[in-house]
């Protein structure tokens, strides 16, 4: 993300936009120096586990262990507790649990944990649509651009844009989120999707939203598209936005 910000600083045409990116860079440097979060919204703990099928977990419950890790990490790291126990009654759980955990079984004997602490602001501007197959790639583009247009400057641009295409209603949303876990700017290995990523990035940056929405060319730093097979009648598309404060770590055990 830091390299992407540096590149955006060079490419931004708007002087106000450049100033904002410099401020974000200074913020990252200060946060590092003082070992404090770049953003106060240290998010909900989104945990994606790739569990090797030959792994056998003993001595307790994996989900509870992850929650305990989140509890300790958010307390000891002086991170903000941003989770309410019930979406309607809205009492804070006080320790940022539960984590939002998704486990997928994969070949092998390793356990890989991805952690994506995700802020609420950029989650709120994310969207999903069930398009008609006839709408095709043009429909997908239109929906992605609409989503960015609605987000405007609300969720701290420059953004990283995760796009899921295909699968089911729920898988599609997860694809968009998983797209955010890819190394920033690394293209999709499938050529037609890599091309779509480039075209979307250009179109998004032509919207003029710019850093913080004050106008400029650097609205998105990268677009990551992920896809899955889908039903003959379906064309799901999901857009999950991340702000410039993208935080993502992976560990293998």
């Amino acid at each position: 993300m830091e390299e992407a910000l540096a590149r955006a600083r060079e490419a931004e045409e708007s002087p106000v936009g450049r100033g904002i990116i410099e401020e974000l860079q200074a913020n990252v440097a200060l946060a590092k120096e003082e070992a404090i979060p770049v953003c106060q919204d240290t998010g909900m703990a989104i945990v994606y586990v790739e569990l090797g099928q030959d792994v056998h977990i003993t001595g307790g419950n994996l989900y509870l262990a992850i929650d305990e890790g989140v509890r300790q990490g958010y307390e000891q790291g002086y991170l903000r507790k941003s989770i309410v126990a019930d979406p309607l009654r809205r009492e804070n759980t006080g320790d940022n649990t539960p984590a939002f955990i998704r486990v997928q079984v994969v070949p092998g004997d390793k356990l890989r944990i991805h952690l994506l602490p995700k802020g609420g602001g950029s989650e709120n501007v994310s969207r999903l649509a069930m398009l008609k197959p006839a709408q095709g790639v043009a429909g997908v583009k239109k929906f992605v651009l609409e989503t960015l247009d609605l987000a405007g400057g609300n969720a701290c641009p420059p953004y990283l844009v995760g796009v899921g295409i295909g699968g089911t209603f729920d898988e599609c949303a997860f694809l968009a989120k998983r797209a955010l876990m890819r190394e920033v700017g690394r293209p999709n290995p499938q050529e037609h999707l890599a091309r779509l990523e480039e075209e979307l990035l250009e179109a998004i940056n032509d919207l003029g939203i710019g850093p913080q929405g004050f106008g400029g060319r650097q609205t998105a730093l990268a677009v990551h598209v992920e896809s899955l097979p889908t039903h003959i009648a379906c064309l799901p598309v999901a857009v999950n936005l991340s702000c410039h404060a993208l935080r993502h770590r992976s560990r293998e055990v």
């Binding site: 979060p37 106060q40 002086y78 032509d206």
Partner: protein
């Protein structure tokens, strides 16, 4: 850069124009969604707010906890649009300034010009830098709301950008128009 202090007066607010960068010093109060909902309940019961609204500035922020020996943790703005439903009622009762990020509804923009108030953006996600400008903090209401409690902050030279001025300007609209390629 223009330096301004709280409480905000008509005289100060008249000088501010959309796009201006300013440094704000003085007292500001924090409030997010849950605190705003409580303010409305207080109004319904005919009670006063936990702080004087006349000339006041509200910062939409839920700070991270302070490390030992620090005043406050990282403290950048949250999305202001979520407070739009509550804002006109506060502006009618004397609120003069708001600090957040992202655009406001038409009703809020109209209420801002009517009340001669101003809406500032702080740089979203520049939360470590912004926290450096906070010199003192005290929870003054609703401690049970955790990060959403109402705090009194004493700030020095908090860097802000004027988004909505009393003349009807809107930085998000104007900025986008300038750089959009259709």
């Amino acid at each position: 850069m223009l330096k301004i202090t709280t409480p905000l007066t008509d005289e100060t607010v008249c000088k501010l124009r959309t796009g201006d960068r300013v440094l704000l010093s003085g007292t500001v109060y924090t409030a997010r969604d849950a605190a705003h909902a409580r303010f409305m309940e207080a109004f319904e019961r005919g009670e006063d707010l936990p702080f004087p609204l006349e000339g006041a500035v509200i910062y939409y922020v839920g700070p991270a906890p302070a490390k030992p020996g620090r005043v406050i943790g990282s403290a950048g703005p949250t999305t202001s649009g979520r407070m739009d439903v509550y804002t006109p009622a506060l502006l009618e009762r004397g609120l003069k300034g708001m600090i957040g990020k992202g655009s406001r509804s038409r009703q809020v923009r109209e209420a801002i010009t009517a009340a001669k108030a101003v809406y500032f953006a702080a740089t979203g996600g520049a939360a470590a830098l912004l926290a450096k400008c906070i010199m003192e903090t005290e929870i003054i209401a609703y401690p049970e709301l955790g990060p959403e409690a109402v705090r009194r902050l004493e700030v020095r030279d908090l860097p802000l950008t004027v988004v909505n001025d009393i003349y009807g300007g809107d930085l998000y609209e104007e900025g986008r128009k300038r750089y959009a390629r259709l």
